[in-house]
């Protein structure tokens, strides 16, 4: 597979859409380094997600793009203009906050119109009403933010950020306060609006499923460093290292041997070629959906099973390491201690770089 097979890039329908470029950006708080020389290019009109566990520096990068944190070292440019020294108020960037940060003393319409009023735009009210319609809240303008549901408040925050027609739109874990069903719906809407307007967006989340679903490009971070930049499919199929493999999706990291033609787990060998992969003893990423029970194959013993409805999740002890698989549920659940055999599909495997 090559990169061209990944999700088609959004056409840059919006001529105002701006690229964002981070060159060696570092942020230190006292002695702790929150972000270590990050390099990143965001193409115009794309949605790039910063993904990582809490404390990895993703929000710090976002806040540096917004201008809410100063940059210790390095250069940040938006639309080919160096903005490293500009304050947040001087940058053409808006943000949707995790807590929505709706002004409680202003109506919904005045919240959306706030930035336009600050800029003394005469058409503030009309433009705000327009933005509210775009997010499906036409007619809600006179309400107080507290009278809206969580999802609606989220839309107001989005409208407030969109109405400024920013060069870059930032999202700081915008869906983390919503319940699971609403989260899925909102993320699709955010993606639809972003593509419709062709706006450049940077999105922070710790939810890997959300990141895969919404992004053109995902940046995986850990401990202040960028681990990998790639399309969602790249990350899932071809992770740069064990951290990315483990963080994105469910991963089995098994001990195997590889000689250039055949990949072996214990006594099981299957034909496999991966150009540029190391040979000898290797670590192999095996996604759960690439493994199934079979009559023959790698021997193992079930150590736990959990019924999840559509699927049943088993943990299996094998000579190549512990394996997690999730086959569709059968009528009976195999008891712990059952001896079974596992078969592998060769297109779900990936030998991690040494």
């Amino acid at each position: 597979m090559t990169a061209t097979q990944s999700r088609p890039q959004t056409s840059v329908s919006n001529p105002q859409a701006a690229p964002v470029k981070l060159e060696g950006v570092t942020k230190r708080f006292g002695k702790t380094t929150a972000v270590q020389s990050a390099n990143l290019e965001v193409q115009p009109g794309t949605l790039v997600t910063l993904l990582g566990p809490s404390g990895c520096g993703k929000t710090t990068i976002l806040r540096m793009i917004a201008g809410l944190e100063t940059i210790t070292e390095g250069k940040l440019s938006i639309d080919h203009e160096d903005v490293t020294q500009l304050s947040a108020a001087q940058r053409d960037v808006t943000m949707v906050f995790q807590s929505y940060a709706l002004f409680p003393h202003l109506s919904v319409l005045e919240n959306v119109a706030y930035g336009l009023r600050v800029a003394r735009r005469p058409d503030a009210a009309e433009a705000a009403e327009e933005a509210l319609k775009l997010v499906g809240l036409g007619g809600y303008g006179s309400r107080a933010p507290s009278q809206l549901s969580g999802g609606q408040q989220q839309r107001v925050a989005l409208a407030r950020a969109l109405v400024m027609k920013p060069k870059v739109l930032l999202f700081d874990e915008p869906l983390s306060n919503l319940d699971a069903k609403l989260r899925r719906q909102m993320r699709n809407e955010i993606r639809a609006i972003q593509q419709q307007l062709g706006i450049t967006a940077v999105y922070v989340t710790h939810d890997q499923a959300e990141a895969l679903a919404i992004s053109d490009v995902v940046v995986v971070m850990s401990a202040g460093k960028i681990e990998q930049i790639g399309t969602p499919e790249d990350l899932y199929r071809r992770p740069a290292n064990a951290f990315v493999a483990d963080f994105v999706g469910e991963a089995n990291l098994l001990q195997g041997t590889y000689d250039g033609q055949k990949l072996g787990f214990g006594n099981v060998f299957l034909p496999y070629t991966q150009p540029g992969a190391p040979t000898g003893d290797v670590r192999v990423l095996v996604r759960p959906e690439s493994i199934s029970f079979s009559e023959r194959g790698l021997a193992g013993r079930i150590t736990s099973g959990a019924y999840l409805g559509a699927m049943t999740e088993y943990t299996i002890e094998t000579s190549a390491g512990d394996v997690l698989i999730a086959p569709p549920s059968e009528a009976t659940i195999l008891p712990n201690g059952s001896d079974i055999h596992l078969d592998f599909r060769s297109n779900g495997l990936y030998i991690l770089p040494a």
Binding site: A89, Q90, T94, M95, S99, A101, L102, A161, M164, L170
Partner: protein, 771 residues
């Protein structure tokens, strides 16, 4: 914001050309020559003029090209102007002051434009303004006090030596007493050492801990004994502060527990106090010649009314907490010394308790003991406000956890509540120590030699001695303050936010609750007597000698006191708005901005909280009595004194309120391209509006009740109510003093009530003011 860069140089030019540069006397704008007029004789004034013109011209250029030359011009102009004003040392008039401030503002904006200060223009300029004000009106006066204490010309410890060795300051061995105080103190030190050693050995502590405990115990007990047996102002002040702080903190904890945990109606405890109050009102009403025969009837009606009220309160199930809310407001509307002076009515030679109840003929209950009682009455509510916040914020789920693990009420109190309120107790204790040390009015009214009064009595004939007393007082207060800050620094600040606690609180043990309610009853009785005697003192001919009803004292108010009263209202009102603006800006700077110099501003503004009023008063006398900042004898100096005196309280309450606002709101405003002034005005201010209004009112109220710094600064043309009351007490016009105090307390009570009602109507949270 572009317009600001145009306006400030224009304003400066206008002031430079049209307003007088120096003053002849103390009056401002009395028609001296302007800066323009002085150019011929003082060529150095070309510099600020050139700087103003240059910055004005530069403001038409682009930001990048403009910023560095603007900075150079404005900074040079400001420094030259400032140095010229300071070293020329003639009273500066508004022309010079506005020129300097305009150049300072432009400097700030240019610092922001060049990126030297990483903040926007408003933040940069206001930081410089605030810094200048703190230097001028906090640091400079304090510097003058220290300078005076350590020798006006060259460093010298002479003044220190003479004061510290004077028996008025402190003496341990009193030749005129039979016993030897030094020996007693030595014995106490040995006892302390033995106790420390014994305790450490008994508890099998390691060697170094044993040595440390022994030394600490010996020192602690020894110092306390030396103070206890010794004499002098230092001894009196420290002993007083420690005793008052202990009593006030203990009472405050009792009341805080009652206020948050007592569900029992307090009515039954009020039968006696209310019946007594009814009796007292009845006897007052029957004291005029016309009503003399009706004494029995009036008194009976009074007692019945009191009992009826108590019964009604019992029926309504009014708890102690409701009353405590009112009692906690009393010290805010009462100058502390008014309590002291009302105590004269109770504990003086002809006092209700001394003579009326105990039948004694003594004034031994006045003096240091009286000061202690007055301060305890005045400061317990302040400690209560600190502790009730702490007790309220205790997480109820912790107590629930303890109860589910089988702990009884006493056990919960001992193992959960007590450890959690201990930092709060230390906080309240140190706060009360600071207040007690700084109190000037009560020692002044009651007599006795204390540090604060020594400053006042020595300032006229020996400013150096006054400065030394002031320095010692300052050192003690600042130590207590730093201890408080260190203690607070180690505890989480979140314990004192207004967040509602979760979970159910455990009720108090029944026995403890009854004891505490009884203590509170005694308190209510006593405080009621104090305030009652103030109002009675205003309504009878001469309390204790002739208790017949008269309106004479009230009529006397119009002779001169009413003028002073309205003058004070005016000064307090004028000073409260700058307090509000400065407080909000400083609070915003220190909570929400990161910039060079924030530490200085935070320290400067917090430190002024710990500086005793008498010290700042003498500092103002020393610093502002001549030279470029000559201000004494004007109304302005009173306004300035009020502003910088009340600002720390405003800052504390604004900081507390800002901490409750999600910073994301301000960040959202910033990312929507609003500068910090716009954000402050359109987002922050509306959100903390109820708190702002309370802060405004409290600044006003505190200005009305202030005395310690003001006593140094009043002049015949500009007197204030509190100093007027004090001089009435000095002259023995107790009735008139009582009438004026009653007017003050009543007025402020109305103001507070209106504010509480108004803020409540605005739908804001409870008036969040930290005292």
């Amino acid at each position: 914001m572009q317009i600001a860069l145009l306006l400030w140089p224009l304003l400066g030019l206008l002031a430079f050309c049209a307003l007088p540069w120096v003053r002849e006397g103390r009056a401002f704008l009395a028609g001296g020559p302007s800066g323009l007029g002085l150019l011929g004789t003082l060529p150095v004034l070309w510099v600020p003029l050139a700087a103003l013109v240059a910055t004005l011209a530069l403001s038409f250029l682009g930001r990048a090209t403009r910023a560095p030359p603007t900075l150079a011009a404005a900074l040079t102009g400001f420094l030259v102007t400032a140095f010229f004003i300071v070293f020329r040392n003639e009273p500066a008039d508004l022309g010079a002051l506005i020129t300097a401030l305009a150049l300072l503002s432009v400097t700030g904006m240019a610092l922001s434009d060049t990126g030297i200060i990483k903040a926007d223009r408003f933040i940069a300029s206001s930081t410089l303004w605030v810094g200048l004000f703190l230097i001028l009106f906090v640091m400079f006066p304090l510097y003058k006090v220290l300078r005076n204490a350590f020798g006006e010309t060259g460093f010298s410890l002479e003044a220190f030596r003479s004061v510290l060795s004077s028996p008025a300051f402190f003496v341990l061995e009193n030749e005129t007493t039979a016993r030897s105080e030094a020996t007693l103190a030595l014995i106490a030190t040995v006892i302390g050492a033995v106790a420390g050693l014994g305790l450490s050995l008994w508890r099998k502590r390691p060697v170094w801990a044993t040595v440390r405990n022994t030394v600490l115990a010996a020192l602690g007990v020894g110092i306390f004994a030396a103070l206890y047996f010794g004499f002098g102002a230092l001894r009196n002040s420290v002993l007083l502060a420690v005793s008052v702080a202990t009593a006030a903190t203990a009472l405050a904890l009792a009341f805080a527990l009652l206020g948050t945990r007592s569900r029992v109606p307090f009515g039954p405890y009020l039968f006696v106090p209310l019946a007594l109050a009814g009796y007292a009102i009845g006897s007052l009403a029957s004291s005029t010649p016309q009503t003399a025969g009706l004494g029995i009837v009036f008194k009976a009606v009074g007692v019945l009314a009191g009992v009826g009220l108590a019964w009604w309160l019992t029926r309504r199930r009014i708890t102690a907490g409701k009353l405590l809310g009112v009692f906690s407001l009393l010290p805010i509307i009462t100058p502390p010394f008014v309590i002291g002076f009302a105590l004269i009515f109770l504990l003086g030679r002809q006092g209700l308790i001394t003579s009326g109840i105990l039948g004694l003929d003594t004034d031994a209950l006045l003096g240091p003991l009286g000061v202690g009682i007055a301060q305890t009455l005045a400061y317990t509510p302040i400690a209560y406000l600190v502790l009730v916040g702490v007790v309220q914020s205790l997480n109820g789920t912790l107590e629930e956890a303890a109860v589910t693990l089988g702990a009884g009420r006493w056990h919960v109190l001992k193992t959960v509540i007590w450890p959690l309120v201990r930092p709060g107790l230390a906080n309240a204790f140190l706060l009360t120590i600071i207040e007690s040390l700084a109190d000037f009015g009560n020692p002044f009214v009651m007599g006795g030699s204390f540090l604060a009064t020594q400053v006042y009595f020595s300032v006229e004939f020996n400013p150096a001695e006054a400065s030394v007393y002031g320095t010692v007082l300052l050192a003690l207060s600042v130590s207590a303050f730093l201890a408080q800050q260190a203690w607070l620094g180690r505890t989480s600040f979140t314990t004192i936010t207004g967040k509602p606690a979760l979970g159910m609180v455990t009720p108090l043990p029944a026995v403890l609750e009854r004891v505490l309610l009884f203590v509170f009853m005694i308190w209510v009785l006593f405080v009621g007597a104090v305030y009652g005697s103030m109002f009675f003192g205003a309504l009878v001919k001469l309390w204790g000698f002739d208790n017949t009803f008269t309106t004479e004292h009230i009529r006397n108010l119009s002779v001169g006191s009413l003028g002073v009263f309205f003058n004070t209202l005016k000064i307090a009102a004028i000073s409260s708005l700058p307090v509000l603006i400065l407080s909000v800006v400083i609070a915003y700077l220190i909570t929400r901005q990161k910039f060079f110099g924030r530490g200085f501003i935070e320290l400067g503004s917090l430190l002024s909280f710990a500086v005793p009023g008498t010290v700042i008063g003498i500092g103002y006398i020393l610093a502002l009595n001549s030279g470029f900042a000559y201000m004494t004898g004007t109304m302005l100096i009173l306004v300035v004194a009020f502003i910088f005196r009340n600002m720390p309280v405003g800052i504390r309450s604004s900081v507390a309120n800002l901490r409750q606002i999600d910073p994301a709101l301000e960040e959202a405003s910033t990312t929507l391209r609003a500068g910090s002034l716009t954000t402050l005005w359109r987002v922050v201010m509306p959100l903390i509006r109820p708190a702002l209004i309370s802060a405004l009112i409290f600044a006003f109220v505190r200005a009305m009740t202030a005395i310690s710094q003001i006593i140094f600064l009043i002049s015949p043309d500009h007197k204030v109510v509190t100093s007027e009351v004090l001089s009435m007490v000095e002259r023995g016009q107790l009735g008139d003093a009582a009438a004026l105090s009653a007017l003050l307390v009543f007025t402020l009570a109305v103001v507070i009530a209106l504010m509480t009602w108004g803020v409540g109507r605005m739908g804001g949270s409870k008036a969040g003011v930290n005292v």
